[in-house]
């Protein structure tokens, strides 16, 4: 027999439900129906518009944020599934008004053109640099942003910026 311990958790919704989570180090609350995405939660009620909506289908990476430290697509992540989790967005990585080394490097290396994919690219690289103790190889850097499309084609400088930030961080 299968285990039957534990109480039956209640189904919540489909009307709006309260969602508690941590965004950029601070507790956040929202009231949204379960079908709404983390991206909608961030851009709507929380007003964090740095994270962009492009494909809304997990095909482009513009909505990349970190959940529990790992990059995910917030457009296909349900907000309600982030209950109790740590979420980090582009607005949260600069501390006390000082840019994160990855952000600095993006400016130094002109690692953007229109800038719409930039927040997502930055988040993917931030996650890589945190995960890698040592400096990543260039191949690792490229692979870290394979899930972030850039239509302007700033890839060369994005990889350069990432590598430069990795060196700076050491």
């Amino acid at each position: 027999m299968l285990d039957t311990i534990g109480e039956m958790p209640p189904f919540r919704g489909p009307e709006a439900v309260d969602i508690f989570l941590t965004v950029n180090g601070q507790g956040a609350t929202a009231h949204l129906p379960p079908h709404r995405s983390l991206l909608e939660l961030l851009r709507g009620p929380l007003g964090l518009t740095g994270t962009k909506l492009v494909c809304n289908a997990g095909n482009c990476g513009a909505c990349t944020v970190l959940v529990e430290g790992r990059p995910v697509y917030s457009c296909i992540t349900l907000a309600v599934a982030c209950e109790g989790k740590r979420v980090e967005t582009i607005e949260g990585i600069s501390k006390d008004g000082e840019l994160h080394p990855v952000q600095e490097a993006f400016i130094d290396h002109d690692a953007y053109q229109c800038g719409f994919c930039t927040p997502g690219q930055v988040m993917s690289i931030v996650a890589l640099l945190r995960a890698k103790g040592g400096a990543p190889t260039e191949d690792e850097m490229r692979r870290a942003v394979t899930g972030n499309l850039c239509r302007c084609g700033a890839y060369v400088n994005i990889v350069k910026a990432g590598m430069s930030a990795a060196r700076r961080k050491k």
Binding site: R36, R43, G44, G47, L48, T49, G50, T51, K52, L53, V54, C55, N56, A57, N59, C60, A62, T89, I90, E91, S94, L99, Q103, F106, I107, D108, D110, Y112, Q113, C114, G115, F116, C117, T118, P119, V122, R142, R143, V145, T146, N148, L149, C150, R151, C152, G153, A154, Y155, V156, N157, I158, V159
Partner: protein, 761 residues
């Protein structure tokens, strides 16, 4: 004010003359000599708006959120061609949160691009606007769309270019489906073909490319009494304003259009969209701000594309030269009223003595084309430059040598005007050296494994990029010595704010970080569309003159304040410099009120007797897996002749981006339409494949970097389009060199490579 004049200018592009009036005053400045050492110009400067872009604080149209804002969504035709008979919106209106529904039976008249209304009676492609809903949130609006009941009368349709030009195709317009879009005859091509040593003939195809700007088209509209403000992701705020005026018949003084940051356009955001009109109408009707932005799916149905083309190219050669050219092109314009010209490069790039070119616009029941970065030229160059390689091979001439023979002329073959500056041969020399052209072997070389073949190819680029009037700028001094530069242009991602700040700084003698650049707002001085590679060359010279005007006025004021003769003063790095003394400009400016010094500048006309063009050449090295059809582009050398480089770093970014976008066109990007359904099957970023970071080869960027001093007072020309033009052809020529097989259909997917290789085997 003294010395104001109105001048008419005539600029030629693709054989068409564009006339404009502009107001100028005083005198223009001569362009600096090549040898001048600058403080700012020619220096790699980080973007002045970099912090906004990397922190997510840059406000794009998508990010505009106003109190009480409603969200509009558009119901689009599910049929490629149908008559809208009736619309029932009762159920949609009953949905809680829905605030309004607009459609052809209840919408106020709003003229749009020559049509009376934004909701057509006959919808002509899947994605054509049928109705719109405004609701409290986008989710509710989307649900409401599903509740609108429309009665359609289906009509026969055709979406495919080659099907549309056949006799049996449904006729979509009174004149049929095929329309003349230009032709040119030069010399005696027929005789030249007859007397040729060698003739090559090929049919080329290019597939429909979708822009896929990451920020989709969209607008937010807000009324304040009789005044309308529209935030729109656009390449031309003034164009949007004019479009809104035409639709809503408002005085221009009551319309303000703002585009602070925009997430890519690539030509597709040239003017007002139906979404802007819909947002404005709803906002008026409902008394609340309204946001209407396209989904990715809508973006790929209804926001434009690079037309698919069918091209037939025939070249004749004799005595090692190209003696005759025949190039005919058909472009799938969808429902577009114009078409780009793929024969443009054939008409103007080389000194062909004998040629015939024809271009046709073909209407179909597919989404309309819109300009896409070098429209026509990317497609045409793909065909022409392959045909030249093929002829070179047939004649046993090195393909680069053959081109050199036809690229040296200093006269535009179309107008016979002299070029203001042309250093194409130098581009060839630089590119050939960087790629190692001398290592190129007929038949290619062995690659990294026996079944992998390596090859080298190249292709040439011509484009306009000279810019022109009208374009204006103002430079204001604040009382603390900081400066506000205003120009009604917009930054589509190229770094406009940064290069304008550099130009202003250089002329003014005030550092970049003290200059705020305000653009993307119709409250500023008029600026042209940011398209056609004309922003820098149009707006930059006006900025320079505005900075000069401000400097002269400021020095006049300083002369009074410091009691030194103006002729003994100059401005340098934020200081008034006189003999032996440096006074910070704030010392003077604090004695003046804000904005009492306002410099104005306008773009002077181009010299009418000269042809102003940009040139370049790309060299590509590829490795082809002959058993899997995989093309690996290993290296692209991009050399461009675009006059003076204002900011080498942002210029290099432009070139890399152009090459990468071109590689998408060359290798993987292709709109797929089911002909019988008329549906786009890959209106998404899953199956519509734009390049990823792993698709990027080594890219070497080089510029001739010589000022085009006869073009304008900066000696600079545009760079947006040039780097996307020759890449696909260079890659195709490299593939042909590697494998002996010519790929005449872009994109050159593994399927097409394998198919072509199978034919030879």
């Amino acid at each position: 004010m003294a010395g104001i004049r109105v001048v008419k200018s005539r600029d030629e592009f693709e054989g068409e003359i564009f006339e404009s009036l502009s107001i100028i005053q005083g005198s223009d400045l001569p362009a600096h000599a090549a040898s001048v050492e600058f403080e700012e110009i020619g220096k790699s400067r980080k973007r002045v708006d970099g912090v906004q872009r990397v922190t997510g604080r840059a406000t794009y149209t998508h990010d505009v959120a106003l109190p009480g804002m409603l969200h509009a969504r558009v119901l689009r035709s599910p049929y490629p061609r149908a008559r809208v008979r009736a619309i029932d919106t009762k159920k949609a209106e009953a949905l809680p949160g829905v605030r309004g529904v607009l459609h052809r039976f209840n919408s106020p008249k709003a003229a749009f691009r020559g049509e009376e209304t934004i909701f057509r009676e006959e919808v002509r492609f899947i994605g054509d606007e049928v109705a719109a809903v405004a609701a409290d949130d986008a989710d509710t609006a989307a649900r409401a769309l599903g509740l609108i009941e429309v009665e359609y009368e289906l009509l026969p349709h055709v979406t495919d270019l080659e099907e549309a030009i056949t006799d049996g195709a449904p006729k979509l317009e009174d004149g049929g489906n095929v329309f003349d879009a230009g032709s040119l005859k030069r010399g005696e091509p027929r005789q030249a073909f007859k007397s040729a040593d060698a003739v090559v003939e090929g049919t080329y195809r290019t597939s429909t490319q979708l822009h896929n700007s990451l920020e989709s088209h969209g607008a937010v509209a807000q009324w304040d009494g009789e005044n309308l403000t529209v935030w729109e992701s656009t390449q031309h705020v003034f164009g949007v304003r004019e479009g809104i005026r035409a639709a809503l018949l408002l005085p221009l003084s009551r319309i303000r259009v703002i585009c602070d940051y925009m997430g890519g356009g690539f030509g597709s955001k040239g003017g007002v969209g139906k979404y802007s009109i819909i947002a404005s109408l709803f906002a008026k009707q409902l008394g609340r701000p309204v946001r209407c932005v396209l989904t990715r799916h809508e973006e790929n149905l209804a926001a434009g594309n690079r037309s698919a083309t069918l091209q037939k190219v025939k070249l004749a050669g004799k005595d090692g030269r190209i003696t005759a050219v025949d190039h005919t092109s058909w472009s799938n314009a969808g429902q577009g009223r114009w078409v780009a010209n793929p024969t443009g490069p054939t008409n103007t790039l080389y000194d062909f003595a004998n040629l015939t070119t024809k271009s046709y616009r073909v209407v179909t029941n597919a989404g309309s084309l819109s300009a896409f970065r070098a429209p026509g030229y990317v497609e045409g160059t793909f065909a022409l430059e392959q045909a030249i390689d093929e002829l070179a091979e047939r004649m046993g001439v090195d393909p680069l040598t053959l081109r050199r023979r036809h690229a040296a002329s200093q006269k535009d073959p179309r107008t016979t005007k002299t070029y203001s500056l042309k250093r194409l041969l130098e581009c060839y020399t630089i590119g050939a050296r960087e790629i190692g052209w001398t290592k190129r072997r007929a038949g290619g070389t062995r690659g990294s494994a026996p079944h992998r073949r390596r090859g080298i190819g190249m292709a040439t680029q011509i484009w306009g990029g000279g810019g022109g009037p009208p374009a204006y700028a103002t430079v204001h001094f604040n009382s603390d010595g900081t400066v506000i530069l205003r120009a009604g242009t917009q930054d589509i991602g190229t770094g406009t704010r940064t290069v304008l700040a550099q130009i202003c700084s250089e002329e003014l003698g005030v550092e970049c970080d003290r200059i705020s650049v305000r653009i993307g707002d119709t409250e500023g001085p008029y600026g042209p569309i940011s398209a056609g590679s004309l922003t820098l060359a149009s707006v930059g010279p006006a900025v320079r003159l505005a900075a000069r005007d401000a400097r002269e006025q400021f020095l006049g004021a300083a002369a009074g304040v410091l009691e030194i003769r103006k002729t003994e003063l100059r401005m340098e790095r934020g200081h008034i410099v006189s003999k032996g003394a440096r006074t910070p400009i704030s010392e003077v400016s604090k004695k003046l009120e804000n904005n009492t010094v306002i410099g104005k500048g306008s773009r002077w006309p181009n010299p009418e007797s000269l042809a102003i063009k940009t040139f370049g050449a790309h060299f590509a090295q590829v490795e082809v897996d002959t058993l899997t059809g995989e093309i690996v582009v290993e290296k692209v050398v991009a050399v461009h002749d675009i006059g003076r480089i204002v900011n080498p770093m942002t210029a290099a970014s432009q070139v890399q981006g152009g090459v990468i976008q071109a590689l998408g066109f060359a290798l993987s990007e292709e709109r797929v339409v089911d002909r019988s359904l008329g549906r786009v099957m890959n209106a998404d970023l899953e199956w519509y494949k734009i390049p990823t970071v792993l698709d990027v080869p080594e890219i070497v960027v080089r510029f001739t970097d010589r000022p085009d001093r006869r073009a304008n007072n900066l000696g600079a020309k545009g760079l947006g389009e040039p780097p996307i033009i020759p890449t696909a052809a260079a890659v195709a020529n490299a593939v042909a060199n590697a494998t002996g097989v010519r790929l005449r259909h872009a994109p050159m997917t593994p399927a097409r490579v394998l198919e072509a290789l199978a034919v030879v085997r």
